[in-house]
Amino acid sequence: MISNASRFTRRATLGGLGAALALPYVKPSFAQSAPIKVGVLHSLSGTMAISETALRDTVLMMVEYANSKGGVLGRRLEAVVVDPASNWPLFAEKARELLAVHKVDVTFGCWTSVSRKSVLPVFEELNGLLFYPVQYEGEEESKNIFYTGAAPNQQAIPAVEYLMSKDGGEAKRIALLGTDYVYPRTTNRILRGFLKSKGIADADIMEEYTPFGHSDWQGIVARVKRFAGEGKKTAIVSTINGDANVPFYRELGNQGIKAEDIPCVAFSVGEEELAGIDTKPLVGHLAAWNYFMSTPGKPNEEFKALWQSYIKNPKRVTNDPMEATYTGFRMWMQAAEKAKSTAVAAVTPALIGQKLMAPCGYEEEMLANHHLSKPVLIGEIQADGQITTVWKTPDAVKAENWSTYIPENANRRR
């Protein structure tokens, strides 16, 4: 595993020379036409590397997968990896490099919303195509971006509804904790609107933000404890992103906050993030996603086998954004075959209506608003770092990227 990591880091440093390393995948059967270029725009260093490096590997795995199936339109795929280093302005520069210098046909990238907001004007200006694989706050729609993660109505709102249900513990007070940037702030604004519609007063909502990479959680966790001590069942809704989650969960465990008393539901913590923590004190805390590694079914077995054989480590975990990357990649392959072209103008309309039996065990469909229909799963963290489903929607839910709980959206045409 260590050797793998170093190999990839070197590849990242070489950037555009990734082509040379992709060469061993070439099959003699490929036509002599130029390869299709797939851009990979994920942070390989900095605070988001904990989450994003696995996504870079997922895209590389899919490139290898596509080539083993004979490529797309009979042409070989070639990955171009760049490292925006968790640096938001650098994301825009690297996006421009991918589109203008490397002339990539499609890009898979970004995790944080602030990075997506940073590259959006670049993709619109140069008419690129970006697949964004992470759940986000919505309030956005671009002809050049396809969103394969969840919109708020596919994650945040059902999760809070669950907390307020009998099974979830009938929470009456909610502590909204988040990292200080656009995704947590917008999500919490939507949740505030939702909680108000459920008759929860402002005094019963606590909201706190911390910088990226925050490590000293003792004060905030103590304040949540105090907040919970003012009567009524309390729950935490966490939009904390990146590696700040590790000290946060450690502090929850050390201060003895048990899931039975104050459950914490997280929107950005998956199996990959839990891999670095001792999860025994966290058993019962929740995560809301659209896919868990523990999901039963054949599509997931295939996905897991593909990943673990690619990464050459039978213990590596899969998570939701990886599944969203996989689904997006497969749908793009289907659309390119349907459009008989990889041109953005041809693939975009062909993508709408694409269907795929996704590893989450449901058939997902690309909707006209560039979002997917997805099931919603609520899972509890287990002692072995896995998450098991305790609640799920009966069907895939259609994404609503413009939330009805934000007053400005009332006049928007749906």
Binding site: M1, I2, A5, S6, T9, R10, L44, S45, G46, T47, A49, I50, T53, K166, D167, G168, G169, D180, E208, Y209, T210, P211, G213, H214, S215, D216, Q218, G219, I220, A222, R223, K225, R226, A228, G229, E230, G231, K232, D243, V246, P247, R250, E251, G253, N254, Q255, G256, A259, E260, D261, P263, A275, G276, I277, D278, P281, G284, E380, T388, V390
Partner: protein
Amino acid sequence: MEKLIAGLLLLLVLALPARAQDAFTTALPGLAGGFSEAAAAVEQLGASADPRALPVLRAMAEGRLQKTPEGALRVPQGDGFVDPATGQPADAAGAETVRLNNRVRQALRGALGQLQIISPDAGERLAAAEGVFRSRSAANVPLLEAALAKETVPRIREQMELALAASQLVGTEAEGKRSAIARLGSAGTTEARALLIEARIANPDMATAIDVSLAAIEQTLAIRRAAETLFQGLSLGSVLLLAALGLAVTFGVMGVINMAHGEFVMLGAYATFMVQEACRGIPWLAPWSLPLAVPAAFLLAAAAGAILERGLIRHLYGRPLETLLMTFGVGMILQQAVRSIFGAQNREVTSPAWMQGTMMLPGGIAVTQNRMWIIVFGIAVLLLVIAAIRYTRFGLEMRAVVQNRRIAATMGIRTGRVDALTFAFGSGIAGMAGVALSQIDNVSPNLGTGYIIDSFMVVVFGGVGSLAGTLVGALTLGVVNKVLEPYAGAVLAKVFVLVAIMLFIQRRPRGLFALKGRAAES
């Protein structure tokens, strides 16, 4: 009349076992059902007071209870399994673990509390009393009264009294409620306050009594909150102190602006990780990997520091700007090197059991164990640095070189060697800080970048070249930060502290503890 009651009681006692057995057998299959069914079954089993329920529920709570594909339950015992319904060995082919959710866990805690409250084991009784306290049902009142009558351990008695009060509070008996309100008022915990606030809404007629109790709790809590904020401040201060102590030597004493200081801290954290991995295979050594990591981290970081000083920094003495840029570059190289060797993913450094959880200080002040040990460690490292500088030959030579390099050289001190040792010493201290930080922060290649600014801030604020200044500076910044945090939020609190330091440096450019005399002028 008395005879009649006694007779009735006897009848009740005789009738109980028969009823209880029924309750056990009827409720048992429910455990294998859906979450709400299982929760209801757990509650029934808890109320049944049947001794057979205890092993089943305990296995369930510990995640050992199995369910066969047919829905029959199996409790692991020794190498095999038993059927809890019959108590006989049974096979468990294809069985899977019965899954829990928070609702079932909550029910389990209450039920185990009911079943274990008369357990012979004191630890179990205490946990049981806590479980019953949280499940708060009026039905538990007789159970608790009986348990209290026999209990002799004061700590368990107190928890049982609170559990009794919590149960009485949701009951119907007015007298019980009044005594419960008074008892909870003297408890002075947030849990008691939560109960009383809820009771105030349910019992408007007792509002005045509840308000008196609530006011008493508020008073205790206010004192406790102040003490806990102080502890948090000291904890943050001790982290800052550890991060800054090495810099106080390299920057404060030698005047080298070492931007790679944070990376030495990071190296120390990775050394901790490596020692932990090395100890993993040896069971008797594994719990002691953390203390063992302290010298390892010191040596690794000190070696890196010595190489850096001999290889690069000594060529740049007297050129602070070049030193700054060069060490900044070295820091980036170290980060990337670690990333290449260990990967970009964070590495897990586990905390030994004695560093996990919360400790109760007298007065009910809750402090987390890991933070407390870090404060102790910070003080120990500070004393070590003072001792090394004051009482060793190396310290003497170091002070001599700092005061007057030429005269020291004429006295036969090899100043170059002293420079290298001093820098290595400062870097080694940074490595020891890394051991502590691995317990509270992420062991990642960019661990150090988060501490470099804070470290310089502490050294400059405290006064360059003064260890006492570093101590006072670190603790002041920590406490001020934590006092401001609840009002301003974590982001703004840091900004305020930074602005305050800038203003302070304007007034006193030499920091809190300015060096006086000729040495300070040069």
